[in-house]
């Protein structure tokens, strides 16, 4: 069960602060961004009282607000650059780096590119941001892709008119390749080394061109990509093969805003949607193998060794690409207790899940079954 914390602002983005993997800690700090307020804010919260370990499963003390700062425009994208810095994408077209000062527990603006995204005579919202320190990549409604470097004021690379429609989301495929999704239902692959103005590859669904709003790459198998769009369908794509999705699954009854593979257990996937639900997808590869023989639940180990053994063996394709078929089992569970207003954002790390809704509530679950 999850507890709701009402925060008096509609939450557009929520992200856990990354934890150093060597300690195997559960994440404690998360950041949220608000939208549709007269004065929007970026806030940092803390969860986790380890003294209260006797409480029932899942329920923890309320998240406590550590600090917050004013944010110009809606927060449309938020990502932790490192332990101290957060990058945000704003509806005014600005990209900002905030610094969280641990000593004084305050946030301040560290760097800003004010009109990164713009039209000839107007502001254009910056719709998404993704980073891999020190590189930051942003996309916006103006169809631009911008590559920035933290601590450098000039823009490292700008791909003008990369898209004739709005680019809604971006993710890294490899260190120099990115994938973007747009309003006409296309995934475009960009190779940043080539400095060209056109995409290396375009994938799209034939038939209705439904706008896509989110994209995420499988943490280990880099050719597998999941997207979600306006019709609430979850699509799995194999980037190497063909330009069509390998499987389509009906997920939600309204727009899907975010899709995330679990970073360490990629057999688990999470999606959230405008219809107010948050789904936890679990697939199992090798469904004919009894579960007690599968041993270690860490499926990333299984799939890597399987790939090594199999070579090109078709039957050991990742279960995600098979979707909901006889070859693999797919289970879906609702994670929120009851229907709420739109769930705009979610993030999952370790066993902890955080999500923010338009009902001005944050839900935290610290015992996600992964």
């Amino acid at each position: 069960m999850e507890s709701a914390k009402y925060v008096s602002q509609k939450v557009s983005k929520a992200r856990w602060r990354p934890v150093s993997s060597s300690f195997l800690q559960q994440p404690e700090i998360f950041a949220t961004g608000s939208w549709d307020n007269e004065e929007n804010k970026i806030s940092i919260w803390s969860v986790g009282n380890y003294e209260n370990s006797g409480l029932e499963d899942g329920f923890e003390g309320d998240p406590q607000l550590i600090c917050e700062n004013k944010h110009d425009g809606d927060v449309l994208g938020l990502q932790f650059l490192d332990q101290e810095r957060i990058v945000t994408a704003s509806s005014t077209g600005a990209v900002t780096i905030f610094r969280h000062h641990h000593n004084s527990q305050t946030i301040s603006v560290s760097q800003q590119w004010v009109k990164a995204h713009h039209y000839p005579c107007d502001n254009a919202p910056c719709t998404a941001v993704v980073c891999s320190s020190p590189e930051i990549i942003t996309v916006g409604e103006d169809g631009r892709i911008i590559v920035l470097r933290a601590d450098q004021d000039c823009m490292a690379q700008v791909i003008e008119n990369a898209d004739s429609s709005t680019i809604h989301a971006v993710t890294y495929l490899r260190t120099t390749e990115i994938l973007t999704v747009n309003s006409i239902g296309q995934i475009k692959l960009w190779d940043l080394r080539q400095q060209s103005n056109s995409a290396s590859q375009i994938l799209s669904l034939s038939g209705d061109r439904v706008p896509l709003y989110c994209i995420d790459r499988h943490p280990n198998q880099q050719h597998i990509v999941a997207t979600g769009g306006q019709d609430g369908m979850l699509c799995m794509w194999d980037v190497r093969q063909g330009s069509m999705p390998s499987s389509l699954m009906e997920a939600h009854s309204a727009e899907m805003w975010e899709v995330h593979f679990h970073p360490t257990n990629p057999d688990h996937l999470f999606t959230c949607s405008e219809d107010g639900s948050l789904l936890h997808w679990e697939t199992s590869s090798h469904s004919d193998m009894p579960s007690f023989l599968q041993g270690n639940r860490n499926s990333s180990v299984t799939s890597r060794s399987a790939m090594a053994l199999a070579g090109g063996n078709q039957s050991l394709i990742s279960a995600w690409l098979n979707g909901d078929s006889s070859k693999s089992r797919l289970e879906t569970t609702h994670m929120l207790p009851s229907q709420t207003l739109s769930v705009n954002s979610l993030d999952v790390l370790g066993q902890c899940l955080v999500c923010g809704t338009d009902g001005e509530a944050i839900f935290i679950n610290k015992q996600v079954p992964v």
């Binding site: 557009s12 919202p125 004739s164 709005t166 296309q186 209705d208 009902g359 001005e360």
Partner: protein, 644 residues
């Protein structure tokens, strides 16, 4: 009344009503001709929705409201009562949580103005919770005689919590029995007045130990207190049996009083008189009772514990008159009195007047309506009371830049006018980003408000076209299934092509897919691009067929035919014969049709894509005629030749 800061005192003001605000401005003084202030002020009537702590109240109660509406109607009301009671408790716990937060904020506020404001909000919430709790006891839980008093006692005890704090102070002192608050705490405050006789006995024990001489008196009092009967709703005793038992006990206490058993101890005598329900003695302790309604409950407890709901109003009125010297009741007093009189409509009416915000009356009325307690009391303009209040509340919410999303659900559950209100309001939500427009669109689409969908998509598409984002514009017109706009966009593309010679946004045109079918012009655009691709790949015969079909199937607008025929030229000039004789005849026909229509078209009623001068055009036509003739000749020869 308030001064509007910013408008100089003594100046004339003009104003205009908004949905929840008023626009106020200084008017110009014609006589003196002096310039007036150029500012416009926005005066907000309802500050509460802008308070961050109170916002939580609105969001949480929205969640409870939606849950309430989904309770199925097929079960009879009786079995749903526990559900309604628990929903009522949910609402109240939300109010309490808000109150606690405001209390903390008031304590920690640096600014005295803010602290007073928070303090005011806390007292309003306290009153609201008091009223709601009473309504829950009397209307929703609707306990019968016997249990009614027990519930009312709980109500008093919940809201008069200072008693426990004082008791704690007394008990923690070294010698509790000699503490100056001791008799107050024991004798009158809470314990006896609230009927908490167990606690009274424990406290009296402490006093008894100090006065061994009066031991028997204390023992007597203790036994009297322990014997007081309390009605047990779940037990086997009927109300009449309880009444008899209570009367016996009452007579016993009376006998001991008349016997002067407690004459030597003034405090114990007072306790005894209270146990008998002596109103004069009760009224002597007004400050401890603090309000007339607590006086009422105490009076009922010790005079008439089997009070029936229908008898309440009589006791309530008399208690109020006895307790209040000045005779002028506060708004809260009259609301509570109306509740005791079971006049639900009066309660709602008074609350609507007293509070500045429709939140409380809207939610309470909705809950009471679900309990089927409101008569269908049709108001003059047709909708019932519940709907009226919900509409008012939701309209107020809609003016808020953020809470408008909650308001949508309220409109959904107003069957008569909700939809109309929503249709009018939703078009006025400002659309700054695509994401917001998408959310608004989803709301409209789910409710089949096709007019609003079309108008929102058109606004977004126009904005996109203005910013030269043709792909976005196309995706908006696809969403609205707006063929006319798709045609507009295609014409923009074609104009761009004629101007630059190449297509812009190839990623869009190349991948149109089935959206091509939305509009004829769009289909043409897609096919034309396909022609270029085929030509680039040197599939000349396919390209030729496509080009011809574009004209003969009338997919291409006639104004574009010149360009198409010019595109045919290189195909005609190839060494290999690409166009067959039949096809050449058709091409010639098209050319004739085009030239004759150009001659007859006097003014530029047909959109002419390419600006061309007369002589250029004449040359082109000449070249075409020549090429067509040559091709025809070669084709006839080729087709007539027998293959040997």
């Amino acid at each position: 009344m308030q001064n509007i800061s910013g408008i100089r005192p003594g100046k004339r003001m003009g104003f205009a009503w908004g949905p929840g605000d008023i626009l106020v401005y200084e008017t110009q003084n014609k006589a003196s001709g002096r310039r007036s202030c150029a500012f416009i002020h926005v005066v907000r009537k309802d500050e509460d929705i802008y308070s961050p702590i109170l916002r939580k109240l609105f969001n949480e109660s929205h969640h409870i409201f939606v849950g309430l509406q989904t309770i199925k109607d097929d079960l009879p009301s009786k079995s749903k009562k526990p559900q309604f009671v628990s929903i009522s408790r949910n609402y109240r716990s939300v109010i309490r949580a808000c109150m606690e937060e405001l209390q903390q904020a008031a304590v920690s506020a640096n600014d005295t103005d803010m602290a007073t404001q928070y303090g005011n909000q806390v007292s309003i919430l306290l009153a609201i919770e008091l009223i709601w709790n009473l309504c829950e006891v009397l209307f929703i839980d609707a306990a019968p005689a016997g249990s009614l008093l027990l519930h009312l006692l709980d109500w008093v005890r919940l809201h008069k919590s200072d008693v426990d704090e004082k008791a704690k102070g007394v008990l923690q002192s070294d010698s509790p029995a000699e503490h100056r608050d001791y008799w107050d705490v024991v004798c009158v405050l809470s314990y006896v007045l609230q009927g908490r006789l167990e606690d009274t006995r424990k406290m009296l024990m402490k006093q008894a130990m100090l006065q061994p001489a009066a031991k028997s008196m204390y023992k007597l009092m203790d036994s009297l207190l322990s014997k007081m009967p309390f009605y047990n709703p779940g037990g086997t005793q009927t109300l009449t049996e309880f009444d008899v038992k209570w009367r016996n006990w009452h007579e016993e206490v009376d006998r001991y009083l008349k016997d002067n058993s407690f004459a030597s101890n003034q405090h114990l005598e007072v306790i005894c008189k209270i146990l008998l329900g002596d109103e004069d003695v009760l009224l002597e302790h007004k400050e401890l009772l603090s309000t007339w309604y607590y006086f009422l409950i105490t009076r009922l407890l010790y005079c008439h514990p089997t009070v029936k709901p229908t008898e309440l109003h009589y006791y309530a009125q008399s208690s109020m008159m006895m307790f209040l010297d000045s005779g002028v009741p506060e708004p809260l007093d009259s609301i509570l009195l109306a509740a005791f009189e079971f006049d639900i409509h009066q309660v709602i009416k008074d609350c609507s007047i007293a509070l500045n915000n429709w939140w409380f009356v809207a939610h309470l009325t909705d809950l009471l309506d679900h309990c089927k307690l409101l008569q269908s009391h049709n108001l003059h303009f047709g909708s019932n009371l519940r709907e009226f209040l919900l509409l008012e509340y939701a309209s107020g919410l809609f003016t808020h830049h953020s809470l408008w999303q909650c308001a949508v659900d309220y409109f959904d559950h107003c069957p008569e006018f909700g939809r109309v209100y929503l249709e009018l309001q939703i078009e006025r939500v400002p659309l700054d980003t695509e994401r917001k427009a998408l959310k608004v669109l989803r709301i409209c689409e789910e409710r089949q408000m096709s007019e609003q969908v079309r108008s929102i998509c058109k606004i977004m598409a126009m904005r996109a076209v203005r910013n030269n984002r043709l792909g976005s514009a196309l995706s908006w017109s696809i969403r609205a299934k707006d063929a006319a706009f798709a045609t507009l966009i295609s014409e923009r593309f074609l104009q761009d092509y004629c101007a630059k010679g190449t297509f812009s946004d190839l990623d869009l045109i190349d991948n149109l897919g089935s959206t091509m079918l939305l509009s004829d012009r769009l289909t043409f655009l897609g096919k034309y691009r396909e022609f270029h691709k085929l030509y680039g790949e040197k599939c000349f015969s396919d390209a030729a067929k496509l080009l011809l079909s574009l004209m003969t199937a009338k997919i291409a607008p006639q104004s574009f035919w010149m360009t198409l025929l010019t595109d045919a030229l290189p195909l005609l000039e190839q060494k290999e014969v690409i166009f067959s004789a039949e096809q050449t005849y058709e091409l010639m026909y098209c050319l004739e049709e085009l030239t004759s229509s150009l001659i007859t078209a006097a003014s530029g009623s047909v959109i002419i894509y390419c600006r061309f001068h007369e002589d250029v055009e004449v040359t082109k036509v000449e070249m075409l005629r020549l090429a067509l003739a040559r091709n025809l000749a070669s084709a006839i020869v080729k087709e007539g030749t027998m293959q040997t």
